[in-house]
C-alpha cells in the first residue's frame, strides 16, 4: 500500500503500459485520431477536389486514377470520403460542446439541488425516451431550415438531457460521500461544494460518456443526411454519399456506398471503443498487493 515512485525508463513505456491496461482505449483513440488527421489534412492529402466532377469518368470502378472509384457525378470517392470526416467532426464537435455546455450545469444543479429542476430534467428524459429521436430531429431540422447549423444545434440539444442524466447520477453518488460531508463540515458554502468538490469528480465519471455521445452525433447526422434532411448534395458528407450510393448498389456499383459506409462505421466504432476504454481506465486504481 505504500507509494512507490516508478519513473518510466523509455518514452514508449507509458503508452505501452496504457495499452496493456486497456487495449480498447488505445485502438479507439487510434481510430479517432486517424480520422481527425484526415479531417484536418483533407485539402492536402485528398487527391482531388471533392466536388470536382469528371463528367466523362462517371461510375468508374476502384483502381487507376480513382482509388475508391468515382460516383454518379464523376467525383472521386476517396477524396469525398476524406473530406467527409471534416463534416463528421464538424458536426460532432460543436454538438458535443453544446451538449456539455447545457448538460453539465443542468446535471450538476439537478443532482445537487434536486427540486423542480430535477423533476423537469427527469420528465424531459422520459419524453425523449418515448419518442423516436430520429423523428424529432427530422421534424426540427426540417422546420428550421435545412442547414448544417440547425443540425448541429438539434443534435446538441437532443444530447444534452442524456449527458445531464449521467452527470446527475455522478453528482447524486458524490453528494452522499464522506468527503463532501467533510467539505460541508469544514465550512464550505454550497456553491463551493459544487464547484470545487463535486464538479471535478463528477466530470471524471461523465467523461467516458463523451465519446459515446459523439459516436451517436456522427451516426445521427449521417442518418439525417441519408434521409435527405439537412445536408444536400454535392456536399461530401458520408450520409449523403451513402444515400446517393444506395441507388447504385442494385446496378452493381458497390463502391459508391461501401466506402463512405465503412468510414462511418469505423469512426463510430472508434468513438465507442474510446468510450469503453475510458471507462476501463477510470476505474478506481487497484491497490497494491492483496493481503
Amino acid at each position: 500500500m505504500s507509494a512507490e515512485a516508478a519513473t518510466p525508463s523509455h518514452w514508449l513505456a507509458y503508452p505501452l503500459g496504457l495499452a496493456r491496461r486497456s487495449p480498447t482505449f488505445v485502438v479507439g483513440l487510434g481510430i479517432v485520431l486517424f480520422f481527425l488527421g484526415l479531417a484536418l489534412l483533407a485539402p492536402v492529402i485528398a487527391p482531388f477536389n471533392p466536388t470536382q466532377s469528371f463528367s466523362y469518368e462517371v461510375l468508374q470502378a476502384p483502381g487507376g486514377r480513382f482509388f475508391f472509384g468515382s460516383d454518379g457525378n464523376g467525383m472521386d470517392v476517396l477524396s469525398r470520403v476524406i473530406h467527409g470526416s471534416r463534416y463528421a467532426f464538424g458536426i460532432a464537435v460543436p454538438a458535443g460542446l453544446i451538449m456539455v455546455g447545457i448538460g453539465l450545469p443542468l446535471g450538476l444543479l439537478a443532482g445537487y439541488k434536486g427540486g423542480w429542476l430535477d423533476e423537469a430534467l427527469l420528465r424531459t428524459l422520459d419524453v425523449l425516451r418515448a419518442f423516436p429521436t430520429i423523428i424529432l430531429a427530422l421534424a426540427v431540422v426540417a422546420a428550421t431550415g435545412q442547414s448544417l447549423v440547425s443540425m448541429v444545434v438539434v443534435i446538441g440539444l437532443l444530447d444534452s438531457p442524456i449527458f445531464a442524466r449521467v452527470v446527475r447520477a455522478e453528482v447524486l453518488t458524490l453528494r452522499s460521500s464522506t468527503f463532501v460531508k467533510a467539505a460541508i463540515a469544514v465550512g464550505n458554502p454550497s456553491w463551493r461544494v459544487m464547484w470545487v468538490h463535486i464538479l471535478p469528480n463528477a466530470i471524471l465519471g461523465a467523461t467516458a460518456q463523451l465519446p459515446m455521445r459523439m459516436a451517436w452525433a456522427v451516426r445521427i447526422s449521417a442518418t439525417l443526411a441519408f434521409i435527405g434532411v439537412g445536408i444536400q448534395a454535392p456536399t461530401p458528407e458520408w450520409g449523403a454519399m451513402i444515400r446517393q450510393g444506395a441507388e447504385y448498389v442494385i446496378t452493381g456499383e458497390w463502391w459508391v456506398a461501401l466506402f463512405p459506409g465503412l468510414a462511418l462505421m469505423t469512426l463510430v466504432l472508434g468513438f465507442n471503443l474510446l468510450g469503453d476504454g475510458l471507462t476501463d481506465l477510470l476505474d478506481p486504481k487497484r491497490r497494491g498487493v492483496g493481503k
Binding site: T178, A182, A185, V186, G187, N188, V196
Partner: protein
C-alpha cells in the same frame, strides 16, 4: 458551575423507514461537554452514536430538541450563520480515504479551512499548512501528494490537521482509528492527546472500542438504541458499571492479555430491530433483571454519586440499579 461548551437537550433524530414508518436513530439524548473536556460515546450498532456526531456538527438537522453552543441556540441556525460557526466545531471521520477529495492534494485540503475562515494571504496559508504538517508529524513532501498515494495513518493525520486548522473549540471524532492498522492507531491517539493538552480543544470520541475510550476520555456516555443508559466519569464506569447493558458490554471486551480471566455475562438474544422496539426500557427484552415495571416507561435517571460537581455526576437509567451490582458479583462467583 461552568457554562458547557456544547449542550444537547432532548435531541431526537428520526429517519423514514420501510412502510412509511419512522425510526428514531436518536431518541431523546441530553448531554453536555465542558470546554477542554474529553468525552466518550460508546455503543453498538443501532445505538445512534454516529448520528449524534452528525447532529452535533449540524451535518444533519435534528427532528426535535435543542443544540446550544457556547450559550447560543444553534438548532435552527441558517446555513450561512452556521458556516461561520463551523470553524469552532470540527469533525474527523472514520474513513480517511473517503474523507478527502481525491482530486485535491492533501496540502490543498488542509489549507481549505484557512481559506474559508481566515484572511491569510496565499503565502501565509502555505506557511500555516507547513506548520500544521509539522504538528501532526506529516512529512512536508506529502503535502503535494494526492490521497491515494498516502497510507491510512498519514491520511488520518491530514484529516486531523485539517480539522484543527481553524482552531476549533470542539473536535468530534467518529471512530478515528477503526480503519487503521494496529501499529498506527497508537500514534493517532497520541497526537489527539497532545493536541488536546496543547490547545484545550474539547474532544468527543465516538467509538465501539472500549479500551480506546478508557484511555482517552474523562467522561463517558453509554448509548443503547438511541438513548443514554449510563453516563459518568470514565474511570468509575469502568470500575463499577451500573447498568446491566454496560455490564454486558464490558464483559464482552477481550483484553490483549491472556492472563486476564474473562467473566462473561450471559448475552440474552440480539439487539432488537429499531422498527420493533420494546416498550418502556429499551433493554427490557434482553435484561436478566427485568420486571413488569421496566416495560411501562423508560426509567428515569438515578444519580449514583450525588455529592460531586454536576459535570462529574454518574447517573444510570435503570430501575434495578441496586440489584444490578449484586448481579454482577453473583455471576463472578459462578464463573
Amino acid at each position: 458551575m461552568n457554562r458547557p461548551l456544547i449542550e444537547l437537550r432532548a435531541v431526537v433524530k428520526k429517519f423514514p423507514a420501510e412502510g412509511g414508518a419512522q425510526v428514531s436513530a436518536v431518541d431523546g439524548v441530553s448531554l453536555n461537554i465542558q470546554p477542554g473536556e474529553s468525552v466518550g460515546l460508546v455503543g453498538e450498532s443501532g445505538s445512534g452514536k454516529s448520528t449524534l456526531g452528525l447532529l452535533m456538527t449540524r451535518l444533519t438537522p435534528v427532528s426535535s430538541g435543542q443544540i446550544i453552543f457556547d450559550g447560543q441556540n444553534i438548532t435552527h441556525l441558517s446555513d450561512d450563520a452556521m458556516r461561520q460557526l463551523r470553524s469552532q466545531i470540527q469533525m474527523v471521520f472514520q474513513d480517511p480515504w473517503g474523507a478527502l477529495n481525491p482530486r485535491m492534494t492533501v496540502g490543498r485540503s488542509m489549507a481549505e479551512p484557512l481559506k474559508l475562515h481566515t484572511r491569510l494571504t496565499e503565502v501565509q496559508r502555505q506557511q500555516a499548512v507547513s506548520d500544521l504538517a509539522d504538528r501532526v508529524h506529516l512529512p512536508k513532501a506529502s503535502l503535494q501528494r494526492f490521497p491515494h498515494e498516502l497510507s491510512g495513518g498519514q491520511l488520518q493525520r491530514v484529516c486531523i490537521a485539517r480539522a484543527i486548522a481553524s482552531k476549533p473549540r470542539l473536535l468530534v471524532l467518529d471512530e478515528p482509528t477503526s480503519s487503521l492498522d494496529l501499529s498506527v492507531r497508537a500514534g493517532i491517539l497520541e497526537l489527539l492527546d497532545t493536541i488536546r493538552k496543547e490547545t484545550g480543544v474539547a474532544l468527543l470520541l465516538i467509538s465501539h472500542d472500549l479500551e480506546t475510550v478508557e484511555l482517552m476520555t474523562q467522561r463517558l456516555l453509554v448509548l443503547y438504541l438511541g438513548r443514554v443508559v449510563e453516563q459518568g466519569p470514565t474511570r468509575e464506569i469502568f470500575n463499577q458499571p451500573a447498568h446491566p447493558y454496560t455490564q454486558t458490554l464490558m464483559s464482552a471486551n477481550l483484553p490483549a492479555d491472556p492472563t486476564v480471566v474473562l467473566s462473561r455475562l450471559p448475552n440474552v438474544g440480539e439487539i432488537p430491530s429499531p422498527l420493533n422496539l420494546p416498550a418502556g426500557c429499551l433493554f427490557s427484552s434482553r435484561c436478566p433483571l427485568v420486571r413488569a415495571q421496566c416495560q411501562q416507561a423508560f426509567p428515569a435517571f438515578s444519580i449514583l454519586n450525588g455529592s460531586v460537581a454536576h459535570s462529574n455526576v454518574h447517573e444510570v437509567a435503570c430501575n434495578r440499579v441496586a440489584d444490578a451490582s449484586h448481579w454482577l458479583t453473583r455471576t463472578h462467583q459462578n464463573s
